[in-house]
Amino acid sequence: MTEFIQATAFGLLIGGVYALFASGLTLIFGVMKVINIAHGALLILGAFLTFTLWDELGIDPLAAILITTPAMFAFGYLLYLTMIRPLRGAPLSSTVLLTFGLALVFEAAMGLIWGNESRSARPSYFDQSFDVAGIVLPKAQVYACAVAILVLSLLWIFLTRTWAGRAIRAASANTEGASLVGVNIAGVSALTFAVGVATVGAAGSMVSVLYPFLPGSHYIWIARVLSIIVLGGLGSLKGAVVGAALLGLAEVYTQTYISASWATAVPYLLIFIVLFVRPQGLMGTRLREDVAV
């Protein structure tokens, strides 16, 4: 029983970080119907930036979020203007292929800058844990999950309480309608993309403490985000949170009760199982496009 509670706690803690990681992708999809395959590579980029800040300047990896988030915001804005914007109006397949190409370019660039060996940031609390009634809660995981929830809440407040956020939600619900009532779609798209990349940068800072990573790690992360959207549906923040928690639990249970080497297969297996059993997705939010007319 303790083992089960322990595993559940681990699963939910990591699920919080997954939720932050997936929220950027689902936000971007909601507004511009782009599946950003480079999402995993951007996460690893955030992790490398954090690693360098920690390694060179001794900045705490979780505090580094204050630097990585704006930096990634700017990078996302630039990326949108140079790469994504020229493709607006192009079929979905074009952006899938474009971002797939970009993912490989980022992987290569990170390999050239930071090398291809495995890294991880190890702050002082790296191997300490809280002990709550016999349940071990590693400090890094608890802090990371708390920060992830904080960032997600800020994102939620931004989306619901500010004009810019409401414009994003309006554009997400009905792009044409939003443009008719005066929302500047081009501006909103750029903002959304930048915010999406900024959140994945923040998630990258947490990942730098929680997992060893190297440039090639982005594949497993893209698999995770895809399985989260298959589980939770695409385009809604709530779906991302639920899908992330489910994936976190599934991974940790597999690790605990089956074997660690098969835990890497969990995101892929979930994709197969969910699409096989319920092609329309678990949460009712569809993966498929339905007809409007």
């Binding site: 395959i37 397949s93 474009l98 797939f100 190409g101 993912a103 490989l104 892929y268 699409l275």
Partner: protein, 606 residues
């Protein structure tokens, strides 16, 4: 004119000459040169070309991207490796088995992913690649894990070098091209194109979309699986990271995109360009990161700068040159309408038999209750009108009857059968045809191709039939003449005006020979002459026994053409009857105008 024809002929001959020369050079190369370095390069480019030619079927024709094609290379290689080492026999004996394994795996993935549209397929293909890699790593007893399988070196005479690998791959490339060419000119090909252009529309004209997509995906995998087996034997070492290599997936995709999606030779051209780059990346820049940088970057750049690929862009350039100054057909007057050259059907007056019956239909979109407790019937032989204020649910009812959407509750019976659980193509086979409010014809096809695309039934034999058979062409030309669009048969549908598209879409639906035709706003957004023509066509078809259900806002047209008229308001049918009855019904006035409206003259009066 004759000069132009000559010019085209010469160009086509030149093209054939280039291909023949390439094929001869490819076949004779090992006989003329013993340079193993270039032989190796050609072997790898053959692998890319086979992969790209296959991928082109599902991605170029069908519009579905697979990011995991190297899964089939790995599966093929492991089939050969495990077969030859665990079971025995010459590795080449296992190559056909590798093809079967790849085809079965593709069919399995297709069954999972192809029931849905959109991204599921991309996601499944990535997942398939990585999960096979994980299985190859973890299933030690079968695959020898990360240490991989070492195959015995070939036992043939050293003087023939790598010829067996080389010529097997040449043969496989030939077979891939033949398959791709054959698919393109059969019903499978037109079906896949229709799916790429507009999948929902394709379903409403009788195309069983999952079957087409699964066939397309299996076709994209089978020869690549065999080539993967040959490739594994050629390297004589099979390991998870080398065989399930995502960079090879990218190279295959890049070959298709760069050469030209949907063309026969584009993928081969792309492969021939990519392999030398691969060699440069490996030899001069140490592989690894530079491979990623070159191919990832090239993929992104191609999508941004040359999205159509080399062959289509080149062709456009050439055609733009030869066609300069020659006006397109747009603006030509509509041709005179011809009578349908069928034996006139006996004229059934409204028989009293119910052809379509809708009972208690319900549809919600989140908060909006678009259709509620909607019930009505359409009698055989009538032209029934369906009117109602904007937002009353008319188009949703059409979507529910046609099968483009599924109802939450309620029944739809057509021709004494329940059809509300059937997919759209089965409803089309049953005799239901529909047009769309914003016309949806396939813009990338010619007008004639559009009209021959519909299928009246499904059979495996039919899939193998030529895309445009003589008989069908005759029927389609007859229908185009009937709507007055005979001049436009060879025009790209994208170049037509909105009104012309309506006529083509009508001809397309007639190809199904439906019993009931649903027209969604046939007079919306077109000029009065064309409205008159459409009314004339509807009357004439009705005389020949076709039943119509027409959604329309143009009241004079509805009141002049339709009897009875159904009135929809807030998702339910509130009234029905003859045009004059409807005009007097207070509920209808209320629904349209609100209860405080003072009527000055009767609705519909001139």
């Amino acid at each position: 004119m004759t000069e132009r024809i000559l010019e085209v002929l010469q160009r086509r001959n030149l093209w054939r000459l280039v291909i023949a020369a390439g094929a001869i050079a490819l076949i004779s190369y090992p006989l003329l040169s013993d340079d193993l370095y270039y032989q190796n390069m050609i072997i790898i480019s053959l692998l890319f070309a086979i992969g790209a030619t296959g991928l082109n079927v599902i991605m170029g024709y069908g519009g579905y991207i697979s990011l995991g094609q190297s899964a089939f290379i790995g599966l093929g290689a492991y089939t050969v490796g495990i077969g030859a080492t665990k079971v025995g026999g010459d590795p080449f004996v296992w190559v056909p088995v590798a093809g079967v394994a790849a085809a079965l795996f593709a069919a399995f993935l297709g069954v999972i992913a192809m029931r849905t549209r959109g991204f599921s397929f991309v996601i499944i293909t990535i997942a398939a690649l990585f999960i096979l890699q994980i299985v190859a790593i973890n299933w030690d007893s079968l695959t020898n894990g990360t240490s991989g399988i070492t195959l015995p070196l070939p036992r043939w005479d050293i003087s023939i070098q790598n010829w067996p690998f080389y010529y097997t791959l040449v043969g496989l490339l030939g077979a891939s091209l033949l398959l791709s060419w054959w698919i393109r000119r059969t019903k499978i090909g037109t079906g896949l194109l229709a799916i790429r252009e507009d999948e929902d529309k394709a379903a409403t004209i009788g195309i069983d979309t999952p079957v087409y997509k699964i066939i397309g995906f299996v076709a994209s995998a089978v020869f690549l699986g065999m080539a993967g087996g040959v490739y594994g034997y050629y390297l004589s070492f099979i390991d998870p990271s080398g065989m399930f290599d995502i960079v090879i997936s990218v190279q295959i995709i890049l070959a298709v995109v760069l050469g030209g999606r949907g063309t026969l030779w584009g993928p081969v051209l792309g492969a021939a360009i990519i392999e030398p780059l691969n060699e440069v990346a490996n030899q001069n820049f140490g592989g690894g990161n530079s491979r990623l940088l070159i191919f990832g970057g090239l993929l992104a750049l191609t999508i941004l700068l040359l999205p159509k690929g080399i062959i289509p862009s080149g062709r456009e350039l050439l055609e733009g040159r030869t066609r300069r100054g020659r006006a397109a057909l747009v603006g030509v007057r509509l041709g005179p309408r011809a009578a349908l050259n069928e034996t006139p059907a006996p004229v059934p007056a409204p028989s009293g038999r119910t052809l379509l019956e809708v009972d208690g239909l319900e549809k919600r979109f989140e908060g909006v209750h678009a259709v509620r407790a909607c019930s009505f019937a359409v009698e055989e032989g009538t032209i029934t009108g369906l009117i109602g204020p904007n937002g009353s649910g008319k188009t949703t009812v059409f979507n529910l009857v046609g099968g483009t959407m599924r109802a939450d509750a309620g029944e739809v019976r057509f021709d004494d059968r329940r059809i509300d659980r059937l997919p759209p193509w089965r409803r089309a086979y049953a005799g239901l045809g529909r047009t769309f409010q914003i016309t949806r014809i396939f813009p990338g096809m010619t007008v004639l191709e559009n009209v021959v695309a519909p299928l009246r039934s499904f059979s495996w034999r039919q899939l193998r039939a030529g895309a445009v058979s003589g008989e069908e062409t005759a029927t389609a030309s007859g229908l185009l003449e009937f709507v007055g669009m005979q001049e436009y048969g060879d025009q790209p549908a994208a170049e037509l005006s909105f009104g012309q598209r309506k006529l083509v879409e009508l001809a397309q639906v007639l190809m199904l020979d439906p019993k009931l035709i649903l027209l969604d706003e046939p007079a919306g957004g077109i000029n009065p002459t064309l409205i008159a023509r459409i009314a004339e066509i509807v009357r004439e078809l009705n005389d020949r026994g076709k039943t119509f259900l027409i959604v329309e806002h143009n009241m004079p047209l509805v009141l002049g053409l339709c009897d009875p008229v159904l009135v929809l308001a807030r998702g339910s049918c509130i009234s029905s009857g003859g045009p004059s009855e409807i005009q007097r019904d207070p509920r209808v006035l209320d629904a349209y105008l609100g209860e405080d409206f003072e009527l000055e003259q009767p609705v519909g009066a001139p």
